[in-house]
Symmetry: D2
Subunit: 344 residues, 4 copies
Amino acid sequence: MKIGIIGATGYGGLELIRILTNHPNVHEIHVFSSSEENIHISHKYTHLMNIIEQPLQAISIDTLAKLDVVFTGTPAGVASTILPDLLGKGPKLIDLSGDFRIQDPTIYETWYQKPAAPQQAVQQAVYGLPEWNRQQIQTAELIANPGCYPTATLLSLLPLIKEGLIDPAHLYTDAKSGASGAGNKPSQLTHYSELNENFSIYKINSHQHIPEIEQTVTTLTGKTPTLSFNTHLIPMTRGIMATSYAPLTAGTTNEQIQEALKTAYDKEPFVRVLADKPVFSTKQVYGSNFCDIQVTIDPRTNRATIVGVIDNLMKGAAGQAVQNMNLMCGLDEKAGLTLVPLMI
Amino acid sequence: MKIGIIGATGYGGLELIRILTNHPNVHEIHVFSSSEENIHISHKYTHLMNIIEQPLQAISIDTLAKLDVVFTGTPAGVASTILPDLLGKGPKLIDLSGDFRIQDPTIYETWYQKPAAPQQAVQQAVYGLPEWNRQQIQTAELIANPGCYPTATLLSLLPLIKEGLIDPAHLYTDAKSGASGAGNKPSQLTHYSELNENFSIYKINSHQHIPEIEQTVTTLTGKTPTLSFNTHLIPMTRGIMATSYAPLTAGTTNEQIQEALKTAYDKEPFVRVLADKPVFSTKQVYGSNFCDIQVTIDPRTNRATIVGVIDNLMKGAAGQAVQNMNLMCGLDEKAGLTLVPLMI
Amino acid sequence: MKIGIIGATGYGGLELIRILTNHPNVHEIHVFSSSEENIHISHKYTHLMNIIEQPLQAISIDTLAKLDVVFTGTPAGVASTILPDLLGKGPKLIDLSGDFRIQDPTIYETWYQKPAAPQQAVQQAVYGLPEWNRQQIQTAELIANPGCYPTATLLSLLPLIKEGLIDPAHLYTDAKSGASGAGNKPSQLTHYSELNENFSIYKINSHQHIPEIEQTVTTLTGKTPTLSFNTHLIPMTRGIMATSYAPLTAGTTNEQIQEALKTAYDKEPFVRVLADKPVFSTKQVYGSNFCDIQVTIDPRTNRATIVGVIDNLMKGAAGQAVQNMNLMCGLDEKAGLTLVPLMI
Amino acid sequence: MKIGIIGATGYGGLELIRILTNHPNVHEIHVFSSSEENIHISHKYTHLMNIIEQPLQAISIDTLAKLDVVFTGTPAGVASTILPDLLGKGPKLIDLSGDFRIQDPTIYETWYQKPAAPQQAVQQAVYGLPEWNRQQIQTAELIANPGCYPTATLLSLLPLIKEGLIDPAHLYTDAKSGASGAGNKPSQLTHYSELNENFSIYKINSHQHIPEIEQTVTTLTGKTPTLSFNTHLIPMTRGIMATSYAPLTAGTTNEQIQEALKTAYDKEPFVRVLADKPVFSTKQVYGSNFCDIQVTIDPRTNRATIVGVIDNLMKGAAGQAVQNMNLMCGLDEKAGLTLVPLMI
């Protein structure tokens, strides 16, 4: 297969290169950039020396149309100007940005403060959460790859909401991410001396992933949650933890909860359910495509503590995107994604 | 004044030395240890060379009784075997551990899994949260210095609970701490290679600071909260953020909330109330005795996001202990504590 | 192939599992431990859940003898009590510790402060630096896998010493390592709060890798170096940089130096030679088996600055061990080792 | 005293504010900026809330002339356009940048790639290394405050060179710094995700501090060194270690070396000489004005390993600047500078 990556020097793009270089079905990777064309990618990112030696190409619909799969790992508002022109031209399309995730253009424009993507393309886009949407993904032409925070939050909450075990009217998610989620563009917030040895809350009650989570909960469970969702920046590079809290519904037992998780994920290759771990960490999935989940009942308060961890660049971005590619192309869903976590 | 520090090589003890070395009213510092006597403290901790040059002394009630103030920065269960013998003998006593914080011995023993301190001493102990207990502290002989998590949580929640602005029956605190809170004893959890570039949840729903927070809320506001409280380990050394969530009570406005905070803290030297900061960070108080607080209303969910940050070794331990010492000894409450945060 | 790993919960052992899980020629991995038998490895290291599910086995020569390859990733002095009993019994043996690296037992005992390994085994052992010893490795039964510091130092220095371009009588190597080199055992030095935001020099002029480097330079180039070698601890987990300095010999040009590097490494799959990079970093090889090298001439002083970087757990330990296994077993030298660096 | 700080939001400026806020002789601090005038400094750097509440002022010679001391913590090339106009107008002037450090304008322009400062001002400037230049500093009007790397390098090397104990013709300094040395301006090099868990060499053989070190060695010892000097970036915020190597001159003993250090620094309040510490770290001076030094002889190679550590923002910038201010103004040299290191 021939693959194109638009935004190849972004962190999502670099992670796609890391995965696809060893993907058994990928024979060619072509890298594109809207802003750095002609720069040799291994000159900018030395770690790619001898691995991918080619200049960044300018974006051309004709060139892209000849490829089998095109990924976009671009800032908000860019993919929506490129991918609609490729629809129907051949390649499977997978967008890692938020451009095609929100069905309602008014909601998109409110939270993203940008014009929404063409609505025909948005309607065609399938939300690429394989564990909950596998069938639709297999036949999709355009995937809206889920956001990093929504992936960790949704995978851990959905089984409990769907089975009516927690009360979606009183839902709280306290999410934390490493700095790579902010992308490769330097800023004061991500300046080393100011982020190191520091822990911050940001975008209080206003992160653009909130409507994505709510829309997906409603679509997949039929229930409308009331969710408080806040985001924090951890002084580390990779990893997301979403810690969620909700009251149990009347009569809910721990057995029912563990059973719901088992039913949802027992056969899933990339979701691991744990129980009773006294310590539960982002690093147990570092560099891999796993989402690890643990739910604990607090009998004192009759509430659940629901924890999901992912590597934000893998299951939260490039890894999930390749999982979607595998499904769309009829490949083994795990192809290229058996990378073992780096605990150390 | 002559000061004694028991557990001087613990992190609370080292921080007391850092503060008291420049305290205008302190003339002598004596360092004690139950396990490392005769070791020269500056040999173990080189940074103290030329600053405090003396061997650690064995604990002796007679020697301690001649001092003006005795601090204990010892593991749980140690201070309760020492300080009761010093009651009434002269020195003001300030315990940085949890030994004297919990009034009900059954609750102490349930959460700490250790025998409770002698009850007469516990009854005499005053909970050393100056902003809410100043008068009692001024006349106390024995201070139970608050825990690090409770300080950040209580200072941010108390004004809102007291004024009836949030619903204490639906309270959630998601707390995060740097590694120094775990003390100076090496363990797998705090082994550099396993904590670095990692973020963990630990002691899920079972941290021993839970009963301390609940007891204090009840004592100071008359209301009994139902609190979910979870703790996380941040890959950094110093700093705590407590992010709390609660529904607003009917009719509560942002103005009322800001007014309640202002009323509580406007004249406090060590509590700073902020508003509308898009980013709010632990490092803004690093190395200082400040607790910074910001409360934000989410009109979408009608809930409050309540954030408190402290340096866990300062306002969460040694700094607050010195603040209590100043109050007990009739000194300027700020003496020795005007250290400016190290933002960088 | 069936593989055994002794010391599987050490960091070298965990890294072998990470690599070998995706190695195309490895069908079974068996994990052994001298101290933690019967513990399920994925219970201790959660990241291995669903990846390797088996209890740690006690060490048994009979069991080990049935395997194709046995790796030892054990503390100094352990492999020398196990591997000699396996010589001639079938398995290829690869020791990641220093037990079989030093030919002269007096030198071993001076620097390691432990009894030397049985000399017959030491004599049989081949030093596993493939770029310089490939032929001997291919027919070896027992490999002394090089130390982490020596790998970075030797690969960068050897071409220049061998070609007589720098003066081995005035050699200085200032080496720096991430904390994972210290292994998985907690200590004060590697306690998070004391290593974080800190940079230390340790084992000044006394690191046990000094005789390994000197012996190898002499063996491979015929020249006896006078080397100052010091080691520093970087507040990070993975990565080594060895910065070396030496006067150029009379008439040496930059062209000769670049030519010597090219001659040595142009066809090597895991050594990348760079030039003129203004910034040169450990992370460009993170998680991969590469050693990246850059040599710069300083015309002002007529000296060379020679920099080599590796991932200490990969090319400095498990990666190089698998490279040796591939050579010993007649496999593609790159099998299992095409992992792309994680720059982010 | 009334103090002015130009470049107050730079890291040197922020550190001056941290020190001077608690300086016993400082009554007013005025903050100036050439680029952010009218911005409230505590709005940009929240940690200063309630500590320094004033807008940044535009630079005005008239206003500055009324102050007692003016510090410039500005990028290269800025102070040279301001301070000459203040000479003779009253205030003591202390420049933290490199503008006035290099006597020879040709050398300045070669290494800094900028026009040199007016030569009359450069001639008047005194190099502010108190331990070696105290008398001149006391009567100076304009101080060229030493660079961070030169301070750590010079303080550790000077006694040995001066006493002829090491050979200045074979001098190697391998220097390492935390990221705050790069200042507050975001860049790719200091972007959190790319600097974290990474260690880099940069400006190989070309750092602009090289001529400063050479000039000072020559001026203060009469000897002309041949120095290799390279700089590395450590993934941490504060701290510099300079590790230097040199052959001992014939007959030099360890006793002579320790004696030379003792002679040089025994009465110095901010230089601490250690010996025989197996681990020697930047954090032992964190947040303080100390320079700690340890020299070790390697009998195997007959060379010395010379290590100096400082906090780059303190003894390497703002702390040393205040020490110079104290000397220029006839105050206690230690005033405001008794801050104890934060080992934790």
